[in-house]
Subunit: 332 residues, 2 copies
Protein backbone atom coordinates (compact mmCIF):
# COMPACT_ATOMS: atom_id res chain seq x y z
CA UNK A 1 0.00 0.00 0.00
CA UNK A 2 1.14 3.47 -0.83
CA UNK A 3 0.56 6.94 0.51
CA UNK A 4 0.08 9.98 -1.71
CA UNK A 5 1.05 13.30 -0.22
CA UNK A 6 1.25 16.92 -1.32
CA UNK A 7 4.65 18.48 -0.61
CA UNK A 8 5.02 22.27 -0.61
CA UNK A 9 7.60 22.96 -3.31
CA UNK A 10 7.33 26.74 -3.76
CA UNK A 11 5.69 29.56 -1.84
CA UNK A 12 2.75 31.35 -3.48
CA UNK A 13 3.28 34.89 -4.73
CA UNK A 14 -0.40 35.44 -5.44
CA UNK A 15 -3.07 32.73 -5.85
CA UNK A 16 -2.49 29.13 -4.82
CA UNK A 17 -1.70 27.16 -8.00
CA UNK A 18 -0.99 23.50 -8.78
CA UNK A 19 2.67 24.13 -9.54
CA UNK A 20 3.41 25.07 -5.90
CA UNK A 21 3.16 21.41 -4.92
CA UNK A 22 4.56 18.03 -5.75
CA UNK A 23 2.28 15.03 -5.37
CA UNK A 24 4.56 12.27 -4.10
CA UNK A 25 3.73 8.58 -3.77
CA UNK A 26 5.63 6.50 -1.21
CA UNK A 27 5.16 3.24 0.72
CA UNK A 28 3.29 3.34 4.00
CA UNK A 29 5.61 3.86 6.98
CA UNK A 30 6.42 1.24 9.62
CA UNK A 31 5.09 2.11 13.06
CA UNK A 32 7.25 2.60 16.14
CA UNK A 33 5.97 2.05 19.67
CA UNK A 34 3.42 4.67 20.66
CA UNK A 35 2.51 5.51 17.07
CA UNK A 36 -0.68 5.03 15.08
CA UNK A 37 -1.43 5.10 11.37
CA UNK A 38 -4.54 6.99 10.27
CA UNK A 39 -6.47 6.73 7.01
CA UNK A 40 -7.37 10.36 6.44
CA UNK A 41 -11.06 10.76 5.58
CA UNK A 42 -11.88 14.45 5.64
CA UNK A 43 -9.46 17.38 5.55
CA UNK A 44 -10.26 20.93 6.55
CA UNK A 45 -9.49 23.59 3.90
CA UNK A 46 -9.14 27.03 5.44
CA UNK A 47 -8.04 30.57 4.54
CA UNK A 48 -5.08 30.10 6.84
CA UNK A 49 -3.61 27.65 4.32
CA UNK A 50 -2.60 30.69 2.28
CA UNK A 51 -0.83 32.13 5.33
CA UNK A 52 0.92 28.87 6.25
CA UNK A 53 2.18 28.45 2.66
CA UNK A 54 3.70 31.95 2.67
CA UNK A 55 6.62 33.14 4.73
CA UNK A 56 4.83 36.25 6.02
CA UNK A 57 5.03 36.85 9.75
CA UNK A 58 2.38 34.51 11.16
CA UNK A 59 1.01 32.83 14.27
CA UNK A 60 2.60 29.39 13.67
CA UNK A 61 5.77 28.49 11.78
CA UNK A 62 5.09 28.48 8.01
CA UNK A 63 4.95 25.10 6.28
CA UNK A 64 8.59 24.32 5.45
CA UNK A 65 9.44 23.74 1.80
CA UNK A 66 9.61 19.99 1.21
CA UNK A 67 7.07 19.26 3.96
CA UNK A 68 3.59 17.85 3.56
CA UNK A 69 0.92 20.57 3.46
CA UNK A 70 -0.45 21.08 6.96
CA UNK A 71 -4.19 20.52 7.44
CA UNK A 72 -6.53 19.52 10.20
CA UNK A 73 -8.66 16.49 9.51
CA UNK A 74 -10.66 13.50 10.66
CA UNK A 75 -9.68 9.91 9.98
CA UNK A 76 -9.81 6.33 11.19
CA UNK A 77 -7.02 4.45 12.89
CA UNK A 78 -5.89 1.58 10.65
CA UNK A 79 -2.94 0.39 12.73
CA UNK A 80 -1.90 1.11 16.31
CA UNK A 81 1.15 0.52 18.46
CA UNK A 82 -0.31 2.52 21.34
CA UNK A 83 -2.67 1.54 24.16
CA UNK A 84 -4.34 4.96 23.73
CA UNK A 85 -6.01 4.19 20.39
CA UNK A 86 -7.15 1.03 18.61
CA UNK A 87 -7.90 0.13 15.01
CA UNK A 88 -11.24 1.59 13.95
CA UNK A 89 -11.13 4.58 16.29
CA UNK A 90 -12.17 7.86 14.72
CA UNK A 91 -9.70 10.63 15.49
CA UNK A 92 -8.94 14.24 14.64
CA UNK A 93 -5.65 16.09 14.41
CA UNK A 94 -3.19 17.75 12.03
CA UNK A 95 -3.30 15.06 9.34
CA UNK A 96 -2.02 16.93 6.29
CA UNK A 97 -2.80 16.74 2.58
CA UNK A 98 -2.19 13.00 2.23
CA UNK A 99 -4.05 9.67 2.17
CA UNK A 100 -2.50 8.33 5.36
CA UNK A 101 -0.73 9.96 8.28
CA UNK A 102 1.54 8.70 11.02
CA UNK A 103 1.30 10.21 14.53
CA UNK A 104 2.26 9.66 18.11
CA UNK A 105 -1.10 8.56 19.53
CA UNK A 106 -1.06 11.42 22.04
CA UNK A 107 -1.07 13.97 19.20
CA UNK A 108 -4.57 12.90 18.14
CA UNK A 109 -7.93 13.37 19.80
CA UNK A 110 -10.59 10.65 19.58
CA UNK A 111 -13.98 11.92 18.39
CA UNK A 112 -16.46 11.95 21.28
CA UNK A 113 -18.61 8.84 20.81
CA UNK A 114 -21.44 10.22 22.91
CA UNK A 115 -22.21 12.87 20.31
CA UNK A 116 -24.70 11.84 17.66
CA UNK A 117 -23.37 13.92 14.77
CA UNK A 118 -21.47 13.21 11.51
CA UNK A 119 -17.67 13.21 11.85
CA UNK A 120 -17.28 16.23 9.53
CA UNK A 121 -18.95 18.33 12.24
CA UNK A 122 -15.65 18.15 14.10
CA UNK A 123 -14.06 20.04 11.20
CA UNK A 124 -16.85 22.61 11.03
CA UNK A 125 -19.35 23.59 13.69
CA UNK A 126 -17.65 21.59 16.48
CA UNK A 127 -14.17 22.05 15.03
CA UNK A 128 -11.69 24.87 14.68
CA UNK A 129 -14.05 27.10 12.73
CA UNK A 130 -16.90 26.65 15.19
CA UNK A 131 -14.55 27.31 18.10
CA UNK A 132 -13.22 30.37 16.28
CA UNK A 133 -16.75 31.72 15.95
CA UNK A 134 -17.59 30.95 19.58
CA UNK A 135 -14.57 32.50 21.30
CA UNK A 136 -14.01 35.24 18.74
CA UNK A 137 -17.50 36.55 19.31
CA UNK A 138 -18.24 35.76 22.94
CA UNK A 139 -14.83 36.20 24.49
CA UNK A 140 -13.38 39.03 22.41
CA UNK A 141 -16.49 41.22 22.09
CA UNK A 142 -18.65 40.31 25.12
CA UNK A 143 -21.94 40.98 23.29
CA UNK A 144 -25.00 42.28 25.11
CA UNK A 145 -28.58 41.57 23.98
CA UNK A 146 -29.93 44.37 21.83
CA UNK A 147 -26.58 45.29 20.30
CA UNK A 148 -25.97 45.20 16.55
CA UNK A 149 -23.44 42.73 15.11
CA UNK A 150 -22.02 42.88 11.61
CA UNK A 151 -20.07 39.90 10.30
CA UNK A 152 -18.09 39.82 7.06
CA UNK A 153 -17.43 36.59 5.20
CA UNK A 154 -20.85 35.81 6.64
CA UNK A 155 -21.64 32.77 4.52
CA UNK A 156 -18.31 31.15 5.34
CA UNK A 157 -17.64 28.47 7.91
CA UNK A 158 -16.82 30.94 10.68
CA UNK A 159 -19.11 33.81 9.71
CA UNK A 160 -22.26 31.75 9.43
CA UNK A 161 -21.76 30.39 12.96
CA UNK A 162 -20.83 33.79 14.38
CA UNK A 163 -24.11 35.23 13.14
CA UNK A 164 -26.19 32.41 14.58
CA UNK A 165 -24.49 32.64 17.97
CA UNK A 166 -25.24 36.36 17.78
CA UNK A 167 -28.92 35.59 17.20
CA UNK A 168 -28.96 33.21 20.18
CA UNK A 169 -27.49 36.03 22.28
CA UNK A 170 -30.21 38.45 21.23
CA UNK A 171 -28.22 40.61 18.82
CA UNK A 172 -29.39 42.28 15.63
CA UNK A 173 -27.27 40.46 13.04
CA UNK A 174 -26.28 41.72 9.58
CA UNK A 175 -24.10 39.60 7.30
CA UNK A 176 -21.91 40.63 4.37
CA UNK A 177 -21.32 38.08 1.61
CA UNK A 178 -20.47 37.93 -2.07
CA UNK A 179 -23.54 36.54 -3.89
CA UNK A 180 -27.29 37.06 -3.71
CA UNK A 181 -27.72 33.32 -3.10
CA UNK A 182 -25.49 33.52 -0.01
CA UNK A 183 -27.38 36.57 1.22
CA UNK A 184 -30.70 34.79 0.77
CA UNK A 185 -29.34 31.78 2.68
CA UNK A 186 -28.26 34.03 5.56
CA UNK A 187 -31.62 35.76 5.94
CA UNK A 188 -34.05 32.99 4.94
CA UNK A 189 -32.33 29.87 6.30
CA UNK A 190 -30.26 31.17 9.17
CA UNK A 191 -32.47 34.04 10.31
CA UNK A 192 -30.02 36.94 9.97
CA UNK A 193 -31.85 40.28 10.19
CA UNK A 194 -30.20 41.46 6.99
CA UNK A 195 -27.51 40.66 4.46
CA UNK A 196 -25.50 42.76 2.03
CA UNK A 197 -23.91 41.64 -1.24
CA UNK A 198 -20.62 43.51 -1.21
CA UNK A 199 -20.09 42.89 -4.92
CA UNK A 200 -23.28 44.66 -6.02
CA UNK A 201 -24.20 46.97 -3.14
CA UNK A 202 -22.71 50.07 -1.52
CA UNK A 203 -21.82 48.44 1.80
CA UNK A 204 -21.45 51.68 3.75
CA UNK A 205 -24.85 52.94 2.66
CA UNK A 206 -26.60 49.58 3.00
CA UNK A 207 -25.27 49.19 6.54
CA UNK A 208 -26.49 52.65 7.49
CA UNK A 209 -29.98 51.57 6.41
CA UNK A 210 -29.89 48.10 7.99
CA UNK A 211 -28.35 49.30 11.26
CA UNK A 212 -30.44 52.29 12.38
CA UNK A 213 -28.75 52.21 15.79
CA UNK A 214 -25.25 51.84 14.31
CA UNK A 215 -22.87 48.92 14.69
CA UNK A 216 -21.63 47.82 18.10
CA UNK A 217 -19.68 44.72 17.15
CA UNK A 218 -17.82 43.88 13.94
CA UNK A 219 -16.56 40.35 13.43
CA UNK A 220 -14.02 40.77 10.64
CA UNK A 221 -13.03 37.87 8.40
CA UNK A 222 -12.03 39.83 5.32
CA UNK A 223 -10.31 43.21 5.82
CA UNK A 224 -9.95 45.65 2.92
CA UNK A 225 -12.70 47.82 1.48
CA UNK A 226 -15.50 45.95 3.26
CA UNK A 227 -13.83 46.61 6.58
CA UNK A 228 -13.49 50.32 5.83
CA UNK A 229 -17.20 50.49 5.03
CA UNK A 230 -18.13 48.76 8.28
CA UNK A 231 -15.80 50.94 10.35
CA UNK A 232 -17.55 54.02 9.01
CA UNK A 233 -20.73 52.74 10.64
CA UNK A 234 -19.26 51.74 13.99
CA UNK A 235 -20.65 53.26 17.16
CA UNK A 236 -18.65 54.85 19.90
CA UNK A 237 -16.93 52.11 21.96
CA UNK A 238 -17.58 49.47 19.30
CA UNK A 239 -15.52 46.27 19.46
CA UNK A 240 -13.84 44.68 16.47
CA UNK A 241 -12.91 41.01 16.64
CA UNK A 242 -10.22 40.53 14.01
CA UNK A 243 -10.40 36.94 12.82
CA UNK A 244 -9.11 37.11 9.26
CA UNK A 245 -8.18 39.34 6.33
CA UNK A 246 -8.86 37.00 3.43
CA UNK A 247 -9.32 39.84 0.93
CA UNK A 248 -5.60 40.53 1.19
CA UNK A 249 -4.00 37.10 1.51
CA UNK A 250 -3.30 36.71 -2.21
CA UNK A 251 -1.75 40.16 -2.62
CA UNK A 252 1.74 38.93 -1.83
CA UNK A 253 2.52 41.97 0.31
CA UNK A 254 1.73 43.19 3.83
CA UNK A 255 -1.98 43.76 4.38
CA UNK A 256 -2.50 47.41 5.31
CA UNK A 257 -4.89 48.68 7.93
CA UNK A 258 -8.09 50.44 6.95
CA UNK A 259 -7.65 53.98 5.65
CA UNK A 260 -10.05 55.19 8.33
CA UNK A 261 -7.86 53.70 11.06
CA UNK A 262 -8.00 56.97 13.02
CA UNK A 263 -11.56 56.01 13.98
CA UNK A 264 -9.96 53.80 16.63
CA UNK A 265 -9.12 57.05 18.35
CA UNK A 266 -12.15 59.13 17.44
CA UNK A 267 -14.67 56.43 18.35
CA UNK A 268 -12.69 54.79 21.18
CA UNK A 269 -12.73 51.45 19.39
CA UNK A 270 -11.22 48.24 20.69
CA UNK A 271 -9.70 46.14 17.91
CA UNK A 272 -8.43 42.75 18.98
CA UNK A 273 -6.92 39.79 17.19
CA UNK A 274 -7.10 36.25 18.48
CA UNK A 275 -6.24 32.70 17.51
CA UNK A 276 -8.55 29.89 18.45
CA UNK A 277 -5.71 27.68 19.66
CA UNK A 278 -5.24 30.06 22.58
CA UNK A 279 -8.58 28.82 23.91
CA UNK A 280 -7.70 25.10 23.78
CA UNK A 281 -8.39 24.56 27.47
CA UNK A 282 -11.96 25.80 27.04
CA UNK A 283 -12.89 23.88 23.89
CA UNK A 284 -14.74 21.07 25.73
CA UNK A 285 -17.07 23.62 27.31
CA UNK A 286 -17.67 25.32 23.94
CA UNK A 287 -18.11 22.07 22.01
CA UNK A 288 -20.69 20.93 24.57
CA UNK A 289 -22.69 24.14 24.26
CA UNK A 290 -22.45 24.27 20.46
CA UNK A 291 -23.54 20.62 20.22
CA UNK A 292 -26.67 21.43 22.23
CA UNK A 293 -27.44 24.40 19.99
CA UNK A 294 -27.07 22.22 16.89
CA UNK A 295 -29.33 19.53 18.37
CA UNK A 296 -31.93 22.17 19.30
CA UNK A 297 -31.87 23.43 15.70
CA UNK A 298 -30.64 26.84 16.82
CA UNK A 299 -27.41 26.51 14.84
CA UNK A 300 -27.39 25.19 11.30
CA UNK A 301 -24.19 24.48 9.52
CA UNK A 302 -23.37 24.07 5.86
CA UNK A 303 -20.55 21.97 4.47
CA UNK A 304 -19.08 22.20 0.98
CA UNK A 305 -17.37 18.86 0.40
CA UNK A 306 -14.98 18.39 -2.53
CA UNK A 307 -13.96 14.80 -3.32
CA UNK A 308 -10.48 13.54 -4.10
CA UNK A 309 -7.13 14.32 -2.47
CA UNK A 310 -5.72 15.16 -5.90
CA UNK A 311 -8.11 18.15 -6.07
CA UNK A 312 -6.81 19.84 -2.92
CA UNK A 313 -4.91 22.72 -4.57
CA UNK A 314 -7.86 23.70 -6.74
CA UNK A 315 -10.42 23.11 -4.00
CA UNK A 316 -8.75 25.48 -1.56
CA UNK A 317 -9.21 28.32 -4.05
CA UNK A 318 -12.97 28.16 -3.55
CA UNK A 319 -12.30 30.09 -0.35
CA UNK A 320 -10.66 32.91 -2.30
CA UNK A 321 -13.04 33.14 -5.26
CA UNK A 322 -15.96 32.95 -2.86
CA UNK A 323 -17.61 29.93 -4.47
CA UNK A 324 -18.02 27.98 -1.22
CA UNK A 325 -20.90 28.29 1.19
CA UNK A 326 -20.16 27.03 4.68
CA UNK A 327 -17.24 24.86 5.64
CA UNK A 328 -14.97 23.75 2.82
CA UNK A 329 -13.89 20.14 3.33
CA UNK A 330 -11.87 17.75 1.19
CA UNK A 331 -12.95 14.10 1.20
CA UNK A 332 -9.88 11.94 0.67
Amino acid sequence: MNNRKFILDKRPQAQITDDLFKLVTEPLPTLKDGEVLVRNQYLSLDPTHRIWMSDMEQYMPPIALGEVVRAGGVGVVTESKSPLLKTGDLVMGLLGWQDYSLHPAAALRPLPKEMDIPPTAFLSVLGLTGMTAYFGLLDITAPKAGETLVVSGAAGAVGSIVGQIGLIKGLRVIGIAGTDAKCAWLTKELGFHGAINYKTQDVKKALAELCPKGVDIYFDNVGGATTEAVWSNLNMYARVSLCGMISGYNDGKPIPGPRNYSLILMKRLKVQGFIVSDYGARWPEAIGEMYQWVKQGRIKYAEDIVEGLENAPRAVNKLFDGSNTGKLILKC
Copy 2:
Protein backbone atom coordinates in the same frame (compact mmCIF):
# COMPACT_ATOMS: atom_id res chain seq x y z
CA MET B 1 -11.88 97.35 28.84
CA ASN B 2 -11.68 95.22 25.74
CA ASN B 3 -11.34 91.53 25.00
CA ARG B 4 -9.18 90.17 22.20
CA LYS B 5 -10.20 86.82 20.77
CA PHE B 6 -9.10 84.50 17.96
CA ILE B 7 -11.99 83.50 15.70
CA LEU B 8 -11.61 80.47 13.41
CA ASP B 9 -12.12 81.88 9.91
CA LYS B 10 -10.94 78.99 7.69
CA ARG B 11 -10.15 75.33 8.26
CA PRO B 12 -6.52 74.21 7.86
CA GLN B 13 -5.63 72.09 4.82
CA ALA B 14 -2.15 71.35 6.10
CA GLN B 15 -0.23 73.28 8.80
CA ILE B 16 -1.92 75.76 11.10
CA THR B 17 -1.17 79.27 9.77
CA ASP B 18 -1.99 82.82 10.90
CA ASP B 19 -4.45 83.40 8.08
CA LEU B 20 -6.88 80.78 9.42
CA PHE B 21 -7.87 83.17 12.21
CA LYS B 22 -9.18 86.67 12.77
CA LEU B 23 -8.04 88.46 15.92
CA VAL B 24 -11.10 90.47 16.98
CA THR B 25 -11.26 93.15 19.67
CA GLU B 26 -14.58 93.80 21.40
CA PRO B 27 -15.85 95.30 24.66
CA LEU B 28 -16.12 93.07 27.71
CA PRO B 29 -19.57 91.50 28.00
CA THR B 30 -22.16 92.33 30.65
CA LEU B 31 -22.84 89.46 33.08
CA LYS B 32 -26.21 87.81 33.56
CA ASP B 33 -27.22 86.08 36.78
CA GLY B 34 -25.21 82.90 37.35
CA GLU B 35 -22.34 84.01 35.12
CA VAL B 36 -18.74 84.87 35.89
CA LEU B 37 -16.07 86.70 33.93
CA VAL B 38 -12.60 85.17 33.91
CA ARG B 39 -9.29 86.78 33.07
CA ASN B 40 -7.58 83.96 31.21
CA GLN B 41 -4.04 83.40 32.46
CA TYR B 42 -2.72 80.20 30.93
CA LEU B 43 -4.11 78.32 27.93
CA SER B 44 -3.37 74.74 27.04
CA LEU B 45 -2.03 74.16 23.49
CA ASP B 46 -2.55 70.58 22.37
CA PRO B 47 -2.31 68.39 19.24
CA THR B 48 -6.08 68.07 19.33
CA HIS B 49 -6.34 71.72 18.28
CA ARG B 50 -5.49 70.57 14.77
CA ILE B 51 -8.35 68.05 14.92
CA TRP B 52 -10.86 70.53 16.35
CA MET B 53 -9.99 73.09 13.63
CA SER B 54 -10.59 70.52 10.86
CA ASP B 55 -13.89 68.96 9.91
CA MET B 56 -12.57 65.39 9.98
CA GLU B 57 -14.68 62.89 11.90
CA GLN B 58 -13.75 63.52 15.52
CA TYR B 59 -14.66 62.92 19.13
CA MET B 60 -16.23 66.34 19.80
CA PRO B 61 -17.92 68.72 17.36
CA PRO B 62 -15.31 70.67 15.37
CA ILE B 63 -14.86 74.35 16.23
CA ALA B 64 -17.49 76.14 14.13
CA LEU B 65 -16.27 78.79 11.70
CA GLY B 66 -16.77 82.19 13.29
CA GLU B 67 -16.35 80.81 16.81
CA VAL B 68 -13.55 81.51 19.26
CA VAL B 69 -10.84 78.85 19.16
CA ARG B 70 -11.55 76.25 21.82
CA ALA B 71 -8.87 75.74 24.49
CA GLY B 72 -8.67 74.58 28.05
CA GLY B 73 -7.12 77.03 30.47
CA VAL B 74 -6.65 78.46 33.93
CA GLY B 75 -7.75 81.93 34.94
CA VAL B 76 -8.92 84.19 37.75
CA VAL B 77 -12.49 85.32 38.31
CA THR B 78 -12.67 89.12 37.87
CA GLU B 79 -16.44 89.52 38.21
CA SER B 80 -19.14 87.17 39.49
CA LYS B 81 -22.92 87.07 39.48
CA SER B 82 -22.97 83.58 41.00
CA PRO B 83 -22.76 82.40 44.61
CA LEU B 84 -20.56 79.51 43.38
CA LEU B 85 -17.49 81.63 42.62
CA LYS B 86 -16.14 84.95 43.84
CA THR B 87 -13.73 87.51 42.48
CA GLY B 88 -10.15 86.26 42.85
CA ASP B 89 -10.98 82.57 42.65
CA LEU B 90 -8.67 80.54 40.41
CA VAL B 91 -10.63 78.35 38.01
CA MET B 92 -10.12 76.00 35.09
CA GLY B 93 -12.34 75.24 32.12
CA LEU B 94 -12.72 75.67 28.36
CA LEU B 95 -11.65 79.32 28.21
CA GLY B 96 -10.65 79.71 24.55
CA TRP B 97 -7.99 81.74 22.76
CA GLN B 98 -8.98 85.10 24.27
CA ASP B 99 -8.04 87.51 27.06
CA TYR B 100 -11.31 87.16 28.96
CA SER B 101 -14.07 84.56 28.92
CA LEU B 102 -17.66 84.51 30.10
CA HIS B 103 -19.12 81.34 31.62
CA PRO B 104 -21.99 79.98 33.64
CA ALA B 105 -20.23 79.45 36.99
CA ALA B 106 -21.14 75.76 36.96
CA ALA B 107 -19.10 75.22 33.78
CA LEU B 108 -15.87 76.02 35.63
CA ARG B 109 -13.97 74.09 38.27
CA PRO B 110 -12.15 75.92 41.08
CA LEU B 111 -8.51 74.89 41.49
CA PRO B 112 -8.08 72.79 44.64
CA LYS B 113 -6.62 75.17 47.23
CA GLU B 114 -5.24 72.33 49.34
CA MET B 115 -2.68 71.44 46.67
CA ASP B 116 0.60 73.28 46.93
CA ILE B 117 1.49 73.44 43.25
CA PRO B 118 1.61 76.18 40.57
CA PRO B 119 -1.67 76.71 38.67
CA THR B 120 -0.16 75.59 35.35
CA ALA B 121 0.09 72.07 36.82
CA PHE B 122 -3.66 71.83 36.26
CA LEU B 123 -3.01 72.18 32.53
CA SER B 124 -0.18 69.65 32.54
CA VAL B 125 0.58 66.93 35.05
CA LEU B 126 -2.70 67.34 36.97
CA GLY B 127 -4.67 68.41 33.91
CA LEU B 128 -5.97 66.76 30.76
CA THR B 129 -2.57 65.59 29.59
CA GLY B 130 -1.68 64.07 32.96
CA MET B 131 -5.07 62.37 33.13
CA THR B 132 -4.60 61.13 29.57
CA ALA B 133 -1.31 59.54 30.56
CA TYR B 134 -2.75 58.03 33.72
CA PHE B 135 -5.88 56.39 32.28
CA GLY B 136 -4.43 55.65 28.86
CA LEU B 137 -1.64 53.63 30.43
CA LEU B 138 -3.18 52.14 33.55
CA ASP B 139 -6.75 51.55 32.40
CA ILE B 140 -6.25 50.68 28.73
CA THR B 141 -3.14 48.50 29.04
CA ALA B 142 -3.23 47.15 32.63
CA PRO B 143 0.59 47.00 32.93
CA LYS B 144 2.32 44.37 35.04
CA ALA B 145 5.72 44.89 36.69
CA GLY B 146 8.53 43.54 34.52
CA GLU B 147 6.81 44.27 31.22
CA THR B 148 8.37 46.52 28.60
CA LEU B 149 6.64 49.79 27.67
CA VAL B 150 7.44 51.87 24.60
CA VAL B 151 6.03 55.38 24.34
CA SER B 152 6.17 57.57 21.26
CA GLY B 153 6.06 61.36 21.51
CA ALA B 154 7.92 60.55 24.71
CA ALA B 155 9.17 64.06 25.49
CA GLY B 156 5.72 65.55 25.08
CA ALA B 157 3.25 66.43 27.78
CA VAL B 158 1.52 63.06 27.73
CA GLY B 159 4.43 60.82 26.79
CA SER B 160 6.79 62.07 29.48
CA ILE B 161 4.18 61.34 32.17
CA VAL B 162 3.26 57.95 30.68
CA GLY B 163 6.88 56.85 30.90
CA GLN B 164 7.26 57.97 34.49
CA ILE B 165 4.06 56.22 35.58
CA GLY B 166 5.46 53.16 33.82
CA LEU B 167 8.64 53.43 35.90
CA ILE B 168 6.59 53.72 39.10
CA LYS B 169 4.75 50.53 38.07
CA GLY B 170 8.01 48.62 37.58
CA LEU B 171 8.10 48.58 33.78
CA ARG B 172 11.11 48.75 31.52
CA VAL B 173 10.49 52.06 29.71
CA ILE B 174 11.82 53.11 26.31
CA GLY B 175 10.91 56.50 24.84
CA ILE B 176 10.93 57.68 21.23
CA ALA B 177 11.50 61.39 20.57
CA GLY B 178 12.82 63.68 17.86
CA THR B 179 16.05 65.25 19.21
CA ASP B 180 19.10 64.04 21.08
CA ALA B 181 18.42 66.64 23.75
CA LYS B 182 14.95 65.22 24.36
CA CYS B 183 16.36 61.70 24.49
CA ALA B 184 18.99 62.78 27.02
CA TRP B 185 16.27 64.43 29.13
CA LEU B 186 14.24 61.21 29.10
CA THR B 187 17.08 58.98 30.23
CA LYS B 188 19.09 61.32 32.46
CA GLU B 189 16.37 63.43 34.09
CA LEU B 190 13.33 61.17 34.03
CA GLY B 191 15.04 57.79 34.39
CA PHE B 192 13.77 56.09 31.23
CA HIS B 193 15.76 52.91 30.53
CA GLY B 194 16.38 54.02 26.97
CA ALA B 195 15.45 56.57 24.35
CA ILE B 196 15.53 56.58 20.56
CA ASN B 197 15.83 59.59 18.25
CA TYR B 198 13.48 58.66 15.41
CA LYS B 199 14.99 61.32 13.16
CA THR B 200 18.50 59.88 13.25
CA GLN B 201 18.10 56.22 14.28
CA ASP B 202 16.55 53.10 12.77
CA VAL B 203 13.70 52.76 15.26
CA LYS B 204 12.93 49.13 14.51
CA LYS B 205 16.53 48.07 15.00
CA ALA B 206 17.14 50.28 18.02
CA LEU B 207 14.04 48.90 19.72
CA ALA B 208 15.14 45.34 19.09
CA GLU B 209 18.38 46.17 20.91
CA LEU B 210 16.80 48.12 23.77
CA CYS B 211 13.96 45.64 24.31
CA PRO B 212 15.60 42.21 24.52
CA LYS B 213 12.34 40.71 25.77
CA GLY B 214 10.23 42.47 23.12
CA VAL B 215 7.55 45.10 23.68
CA ASP B 216 4.45 44.33 25.74
CA ILE B 217 2.82 47.76 25.76
CA TYR B 218 2.91 50.55 23.20
CA PHE B 219 1.52 53.95 24.13
CA ASP B 220 1.07 55.60 20.76
CA ASN B 221 0.97 59.38 20.39
CA VAL B 222 2.21 59.67 16.84
CA GLY B 223 1.16 56.96 14.34
CA GLY B 224 2.91 56.63 10.97
CA ALA B 225 6.35 55.15 10.39
CA THR B 226 7.29 55.18 14.09
CA THR B 227 4.22 53.12 14.89
CA GLU B 228 5.04 50.58 12.19
CA ALA B 229 8.54 50.18 13.62
CA VAL B 230 7.18 49.63 17.14
CA TRP B 231 4.54 47.15 15.96
CA SER B 232 7.28 45.05 14.38
CA ASN B 233 8.74 44.62 17.87
CA LEU B 234 5.51 43.85 19.70
CA ASN B 235 5.19 40.62 21.62
CA MET B 236 2.33 38.18 21.36
CA TYR B 237 -0.71 39.60 23.23
CA ALA B 238 0.80 43.09 23.37
CA ARG B 239 -1.54 46.00 24.09
CA VAL B 240 -1.56 49.25 22.16
CA SER B 241 -3.08 52.33 23.77
CA LEU B 242 -3.92 54.67 20.91
CA CYS B 243 -3.79 58.21 22.23
CA GLY B 244 -2.85 60.27 19.19
CA MET B 245 -1.57 60.24 15.62
CA ILE B 246 0.14 63.61 15.46
CA SER B 247 2.42 62.60 12.58
CA GLY B 248 -0.63 62.57 10.31
CA TYR B 249 -2.74 65.50 11.54
CA ASN B 250 -1.31 67.99 9.03
CA ASP B 251 -1.71 65.70 6.01
CA GLY B 252 -5.22 66.91 5.28
CA LYS B 253 -6.47 63.40 4.50
CA PRO B 254 -7.55 60.34 6.48
CA ILE B 255 -4.75 58.87 8.55
CA PRO B 256 -4.15 55.28 7.41
CA GLY B 257 -3.42 52.37 9.68
CA PRO B 258 0.06 50.87 9.86
CA ARG B 259 1.07 48.80 6.85
CA ASN B 260 1.78 45.88 9.19
CA TYR B 261 -1.79 46.02 10.53
CA SER B 262 -2.16 42.24 10.04
CA LEU B 263 0.04 41.83 13.12
CA ILE B 264 -3.14 42.47 15.13
CA LEU B 265 -4.16 39.03 13.95
CA MET B 266 -0.81 37.27 13.89
CA LYS B 267 0.24 38.50 17.34
CA ARG B 268 -3.22 38.65 18.91
CA LEU B 269 -2.82 42.34 19.67
CA LYS B 270 -5.35 44.53 21.41
CA VAL B 271 -5.45 48.06 19.99
CA GLN B 272 -7.72 50.47 21.82
CA GLY B 273 -8.51 54.13 21.49
CA PHE B 274 -9.70 56.28 24.34
CA ILE B 275 -10.54 59.86 25.22
CA VAL B 276 -9.68 61.21 28.63
CA SER B 277 -13.06 62.87 29.05
CA ASP B 278 -14.63 59.41 29.33
CA TYR B 279 -12.86 59.07 32.67
CA GLY B 280 -14.18 62.34 34.15
CA ALA B 281 -15.73 60.62 37.14
CA ARG B 282 -12.37 59.17 38.15
CA TRP B 283 -10.25 62.29 37.74
CA PRO B 284 -10.27 63.22 41.45
CA GLU B 285 -8.77 59.84 42.33
CA ALA B 286 -6.12 60.19 39.60
CA ILE B 287 -5.30 63.81 40.43
CA GLY B 288 -4.82 62.85 44.07
CA GLU B 289 -2.43 60.02 43.21
CA MET B 290 -0.50 62.05 40.63
CA TYR B 291 -0.15 64.95 43.10
CA GLN B 292 1.43 62.59 45.62
CA TRP B 293 3.84 61.26 42.99
CA VAL B 294 4.85 64.82 42.06
CA LYS B 295 5.38 65.77 45.71
CA GLN B 296 7.47 62.63 46.26
CA GLY B 297 9.63 63.58 43.27
CA ARG B 298 8.64 60.43 41.42
CA ILE B 299 7.03 62.39 38.60
CA LYS B 300 8.73 65.41 37.09
CA TYR B 301 6.98 67.58 34.58
CA ALA B 302 8.26 70.07 32.07
CA GLU B 303 6.34 73.08 30.80
CA ASP B 304 7.12 75.07 27.69
CA ILE B 305 5.44 78.45 28.21
CA VAL B 306 5.03 80.89 25.32
CA GLU B 307 3.99 84.44 26.25
CA GLY B 308 1.33 86.55 24.54
CA LEU B 309 -2.14 85.66 23.29
CA GLU B 310 -1.24 87.12 19.90
CA ASN B 311 1.34 84.33 19.46
CA ALA B 312 -1.15 81.47 19.80
CA PRO B 313 -1.27 80.39 16.12
CA ARG B 314 2.50 80.22 15.84
CA ALA B 315 2.98 78.71 19.30
CA VAL B 316 0.71 75.75 18.62
CA ASN B 317 2.96 74.71 15.72
CA LYS B 318 5.72 73.87 18.20
CA LEU B 319 3.77 70.65 18.77
CA PHE B 320 4.03 69.74 15.10
CA ASP B 321 7.63 70.73 14.41
CA GLY B 322 8.65 69.02 17.63
CA SER B 323 10.33 72.06 19.19
CA ASN B 324 8.52 71.78 22.52
CA THR B 325 9.59 69.67 25.46
CA GLY B 326 6.82 68.89 27.90
CA LYS B 327 3.52 70.69 28.13
CA LEU B 328 3.03 73.59 25.73
CA ILE B 329 1.22 76.46 27.44
CA LEU B 330 0.32 79.97 26.31
CA LYS B 331 0.55 82.72 28.91
CA CYS B 332 -2.06 85.37 28.10
